[in-house]
Point group: C2
């Protein structure tokens, strides 16, 4: 009899898992349950449609429903899985009753943290997540005069930029002294803040959210810095792992609240795997569990979970977290961690920085590229990197995450060869210059 795999969640983790099962065992029966109307679209694109960089929401769909039917993946839309019984190997599905499985993959994603202030039930509070809702909210944006983005999380940064581009009076309220303060360093974010000011965005850092105010519909946002009139609040609080099903089923969770998985993405429940934002994964260097990584991580984790659920063998490693995004008129990114995180973790480091350029100085389209490298004192082994600039940030972040993983030192990076060709690269690669500046700083001490 065919192996039967049930997957809960239709995001990157769930759909990665579905593909993984089929790769390992093409004959397996694969059922995906999602609470939404769609799978296989790119939620990461939503802020860019709101910002009018992308024409319309239809562009975000990656595959047709028929494509999954053709691939033998049975997606049940708008269905609610209400409980998991690990011992009996069944899930309860609203309207379908009990469904048996040989292996189960939980890819239940995240919920935004409750902002925890009065007025959370008012109209005009937008939580960015589902594409159908985003289409409705996009119409609302046409009528909005003033909006508040709550918290400069990565999504918050994208939404501030999007609303600014859209020409809406945009306020950002964040309790920290600079945006994305949990991952990015202030010197990296300073140019982003400046470009927001150019867009007319009004930032309120070191500012606590007090209440959403209005009569049924949002009229203003109360903060420690005073009241901001607003028709719309985009709530971009932290992503909390959505583990309700897993916890009720007795699965172990970790310090972030995410489901604990081993390198096969197997949970503490026999036959139960998990992937994506509902899990936690250790950082490769520090061992600190991380949660709320990217869609690319969720997809790779899902694929690993699916392959193992389907009887194959694949492992997923600790993460070194290359990251990046457009922010204001810049691209920011990095790998592993920056100064802020290193300091918070009590990890000593030396720093090398460089303000470089992306092409020959005289070539049209040349953009600045600032690179900051953190290395372990003594060994000078790379600990992490942060960047801000105009282009090539994503590719450098991917590389630098591998450089951290494989233990490259500032010496290795300072002697790195680089492409020099006017249209695509400068004589001096900024990574090389940053590494050399780190070596120079160390040799002077």
């Amino acid at each position: 009899m065919a192996r039967k795999i049930v997957i809960v969640g239709g995001g990157a983790g769930g759909m990665g898992a579905a593909g993984g099962v089929k790769a390992a065992d093409p004959k397996a029966e694969v059922i995906v349950y999602t609470g939404f109307d769609d799978v296989a679209y790119s939620p990461c694109g939503i802020p860019y449609v709101h910002g009018r960089e992308i024409e319309n929401f239809e562009k975000l769909f990656l595959a047709s429903k028929q494509a999954y039917v053709d691939a033998g993946i049975d997606v049940h839309y708008n269905t609610d899985v209400t409980s998991v019984d690990v011992k009996r190997k069944v899930v309860q599905v609203a309207g379908e009753g009990e469904v048996e499985w040989d292996a189960l993959v939980l890819a239940t994603g995240f919920n935004y943290a409750d902002p925890g202030v009065p007025g959370g039930d008012l109209g005009g509070l937008y939580y960015v997540k589902n594409i159908r809702e985003a289409m409705e909210w996009d119409k609302v944006l046409d009528t909005v005069k003033s909006a508040v983005v709550v918290q400069a999380t990565p999504l918050g940064v994208e939404m501030v930029t999007a609303l600014g581009h859209r020409g809406i009076e945009t306020h950002l309220v964040d309790p920290s002294p600079w945006p994305m303060s949990e991952v990015a360093d202030p010197d990296i974010m300073a140019p982003v803040e400046e470009s927001w000011r150019e867009l007319g965005v009004i930032t309120h850092f070191n500012t606590t959210l007090k209440a959403f105010v209005g009569d049924g519909q949002l009229a203003a946002v109360q903060t420690s810095d005073g009241e901001i009139k607003a028709d719309l609040a985009v709530v971009c609080t932290h992503k909390e792992p959505n583990t309700a099903l897993g916890v009720a089923a007795g699965l172990k969770t970790g310090s972030t609240g995410g489901i604990i998985v081993d390198e096969r993405m197997a949970t503490s429940g026999p036959g139960v795997f998990a992937a994506g934002d509902c899990t936690e994964i250790p950082h490769g260097l520090s061992g600190v569990p991380l949660q709320g990584l990217t869609g690319s991580h969720a997809y790779a984790q899902g694929k690993t979970a699916g392959i193992n659920a389907g009887g194959g063998q694949r492992t997923y490693s600790a993460v070194y977290v290359p990251w990046g995004t457009a922010a204001g008129k810049w691209i920011i990114g990095g790998a592993s961690f920056g100064e802020t995180t290193a300091t918070a973790l009590g990890i000593p480091y030396v720093v090398g920085t460089a303000q470089g350029i992306s092409r020959a100085r005289y070539y049209p389209g040349v953009k600045p590229v600032k690179v900051k490298l953190l290395a372990q004192p003594g060994s000078l082994r790379l600990l992490g990197a942060q960047m801000v600039g105009g282009e090539g940030i994503k590719e450098r972040a991917d590389f630098l995450a591998m450089a951290v993983k494989f233990g490259f030192t500032l010496h290795d990076l300072a002697r790195m060869e680089n492409v020099y060709s006017p249209a695509i690269g400068a004589l001096n690669e900024p990574i090389v210059v940053a590494a050399q500046s780190g070596l120079d700083a160390v040799s002077k001490n």
Copy 2:
């Protein structure tokens, strides 16, 4: 008494050396001899001014003459060093007589290989090298109706693209079956050839140059494929190391004709260093000596030579050669070697390829990125890579050269994390997909 360093050559190697000496010993006396009017401009930018991508030649100057005076670097322009006496530690300089040195750096660059056909003394034959001459030739380009580019070397590829952009009827004559056939694979160059056709370029591959024809001034180019009427021929033959001075002084040269240097960039002559296109450097994997690398290589070699000449200590390693350039409407690039070179060297390999994209499929400006990876059978250690696409090629080439150097395998690359953010990177990094495709191909055998 201050150490006295003489440098012959004012290109990237020579000026890198001058800076290197000053870094090691700020009190050293540094004299640079150049046969030209200028130092410190970017010759690599010349084709792009001809192609009108860059506004004018003035943009190519990197530093003023005063900047070198201020740095304590004494540049002698339009001077000819006629001989080197290694035993007596002197050079003969035309018009200056004998000049003593404590250490000497030869950075005498390259000469274009003689095309070896009749008519080489006609007017209308352009050898791209010196910026002042390029300014004159640029005026000639305004009057040219039809031009022939001789050989699809990297410079040839840039000049074909430039003349095509300039609206000149452009022919390319090359004895090989595809452009840059000594380094690039045909599948990588096919899109470039196609984009040349869109520009109106007429390519003549497998075609031998027979003669330049004309009465004092070029009128046509004779080839094995017939005669091509032309007002101009841009001779882009191979770069041969310019070693006349070094050879006459008794320095050892290697199989490419380049001056042999050790890891300190020291030649066989005591106190004599060399850097740039006049030297040869071993390939890190194959050990095969390479000559005619990039300005970035010359600069780093010069810096190493200068630091050692100035009493410091720095080593330069074997090279893994990340390379890249704009070509037609595409960017091509790679690291180490491709299939053509591996086959020529008798190095066995397995291949993984991927046709990926540079951003989210739906994000404006998304470009294709094709990645081909070569790995050693068995170990699956990366041997080299080639790419063609729209953006991010240079940064990937830099990374992949390091991946070859540090022995990354297809397994390592297939498990690489990558940034996913719509404006800057796709869900699937093409390097990862290419590595996985290589693994899949191997597991099927």
